[in-house]
Symmetry: C2
Subunit: 380 residues, 2 copies
């Protein structure tokens, strides 16, 4: 059976104060009023039965996430007692689902991104499910780069994966624009965030793709990789999966999680596998579509409506002689008013007002640290 998992971790500190400890950034709404989490669900729901879509996130965020994503069956919320990075965040659903369905194939998507058009993603996802089901494969998605981005990791591809019967199984009605169906490549290496010169070379090579952080794999394939490369995690997750259906679930989680290794799935699983360690091959499905990593105020601004003066506005606002600002308010009735304002970020929540120059907005993380130091129990 096919399953979908939305991994909704990550602090989103650079999107403070709209994202904060008790309200992860996946709950932020973008231009059309839907949250990043709702968009991630839509990305899966076109392909996977909604009853088999899960969310893996901090247990502390359960109520907020279920309130935002009302279509999610409450039992499909997999709560982590604490953050343990992505290897464990993808391992937990694999362990839990493998215990109930030995043939589970899982698509893992992030909730930090805006991807359009969603129909193209659906076509690529169907293809990735087929690739993952057909062999011991770790399938990932690579975004076809549009510029020499230095803030992302890259996937370097090798030759095409040979056409298999699964490609022929595409339904007749598949949309004509699903042009990536059939395109899939072996991965030769994962590359760290490059400097500009390297990023430019990657862009020109035609063989490098942005690492999307989304995957499709059989649950047993991933668990075998974890067993090989991260045995402490594999053992702990097996213990948790064994106790999942019992009344001891919370106690087992609490006792086990704290000792699980905090490491990314890229380091722990994907890179060793791409290096040829283990039986699974690493395959990338290219995505030539709009993909936005909503990681900071300027990128969030790109999802908002822009007025003629270049103000990206996600608020009730009256702006006089003001240009190139990012204006966001949590409360739709709160008015942000400005005159003579240039290239600033203004974010209003009930508890906090943030103001900083747009070109300093990467430093919000630094500001949050200062806020947490000054007010440890609030505002952060």
């Amino acid at each position: 059976m096919e399953y979908g998992v939305i991994v909704a971790g990550g602090a989103g500190t650079r999107l403070w104060p709209l994202s904060r400890r008790d309200r992860p950034k996946q709950l932020l709404t973008v231009g059309d009023g839907r949250s990043l989490l709702q968009l991630a669900h839509e990305r899966l729901a076109g392909v996977v039965d909604p009853q088999r879509i899960f969310v893996c996130a901090l247990e502390a965020h359960r109520a907020a996430i279920l309130a935002d994503l009302t279509v999610l069956p409450p039992d499909n919320f997999l709560g982590e007692p604490m953050g343990r990075d992505t290897a464990v965040a993808v391992g937990l659903p694999a362990a839990v689902l493998a215990a109930r369905d030995p043939d589970a194939v899982i698509a893992v998507v992030t909730a930090d991104h805006v991807i359009e058009p969603v129909e193209e993603f659906h076509a690529a996802l169907r293809h990735a499910f087929d690739l993952a089901a057909a062999g011991p494969r770790l399938v990932t998605f690579g975004i076809v780069p549009t510029h020499a981005h230095t803030g992302l990791g890259y996937i370097e591809r090798a030759g095409a994966v040979e056409a298999e019967s699964d490609v022929a199984e595409q339904p007749e009605g598949a949309p004509a624009e699903a042009r990536h169906v059939g395109a899939a490549y072996k991965v030769s290496a994962f590359r760290e965030k490059p400097d500009l010169e390297t990023a430019t070379a990657y862009l020109e090579s035609g063989r490098h793709l942005w690492n999307s952080g989304m995957f499709v794999w059989r649950a047993d394939t991933l668990l075998a990789q974890l067993e090989a490369h991260l045995p402490a995690a594999a053992t702990g997750l097996a213990t948790i999966a064994a106790g999942w259906g019992s009344t001891e679930r919370a106690a087992v989680l609490a006792a086990t999680y704290v000792d699980l290794p905090a490491i990314s799935v890229d380091y722990a699983v994907m890179e060793p596998a791409a290096g040829g360690s283990g039986p699974a091959e690493v395959v990338v499905v290219p995505l030539a579509l709009e993909w936005l990593d909503v990681g900071s105020w300027p990128t969030l601004a790109a999802t908002l409506e822009c007025d003629a003066a270049g103000n990206a506005v996600g608020a009730l606002a009256v702006l006089v002689d003001s240009a190139d600002n990012v204006i966001v308010a949590e409360d739709p009735d709160h008015l942000v008013a400005a005159i003579g304002l240039r290239a600033m970020v203004v974010v209003s929540t009930r508890e906090v007002t943030l103001v900083c120059p747009r070109d300093e907005s990467q430093r919000v993380k630094e500001l949050v640290e200062a806020v947490r130091a000054a007010h440890p129990d609030r505002y952060g």
Copy 2:
């Protein structure tokens, strides 16, 4: 008997959004947490019995003002059904008090200013009461200028008022620093806001003082002036005073006020009187003390605590690498956080966030007009 009246009119539009239609700027708190209205009351209470201190303001502001100024006897709130400028705002208390005390002498103070030290003002006020009681005089206060201010009207003084018995009546315990006692001058003219060249000449003349908008007079002296120069106001106010003690007060006010002339006391009374029209002489008592017209964000900032980087802060704030800003929040628990911010005004209220460059803050009035045009029933 001596009475005090705080005239708390004025929209305070340039201090929006902290001041707004339903919350006049006189309720704004300054550096030490007291409101401008409370400071104005303290200015009188050192000299006048608090039972004889009145507030004249819009009836619509009654509840907010009584809540802020809890020492005010509720009957001492004189509510205007609508704004009718200062000639009527000082005429109303004169008419009402004259009807109950033919010898009433009234000090009229504004609630738009910060005046320090208050003890010096008290000494000058005692002197002004004596001057006003001793003859048909309109006594005003002139601030000894410290710079060539172009945003204020000026009072030009002539010769000193001769020493009278009242000066000798100063109590033994009067503070040594009450150095203005005895100093009082005839006024030869009131001058409009000057250009810089004229303001510089005024500063050098030694004969020009800033017009404070504060007065002391016998009620009957003022009413006689109104009768001579603004008979429509005098007649209307007499009607209102006659109905004041009856159940018809509100009805008489409503029926009469709308037709009263809206003109400033300077134009209607002080300027003609200084020109020699009428029996009362116009006298100015100089005040050589700190006087701040809290009319805009930069002047309000001058009342706030300043950090080492020149940020004037009237809010819970975390400011990283930020300088020369004005940061104000209405809610003491609302955090304003900034990084890399220079010379901006940030004002947070529950309903509105204002952001503008400090050197554009005189344009807030323009912004408020845009807000009222876009949202006629709210936010303004």
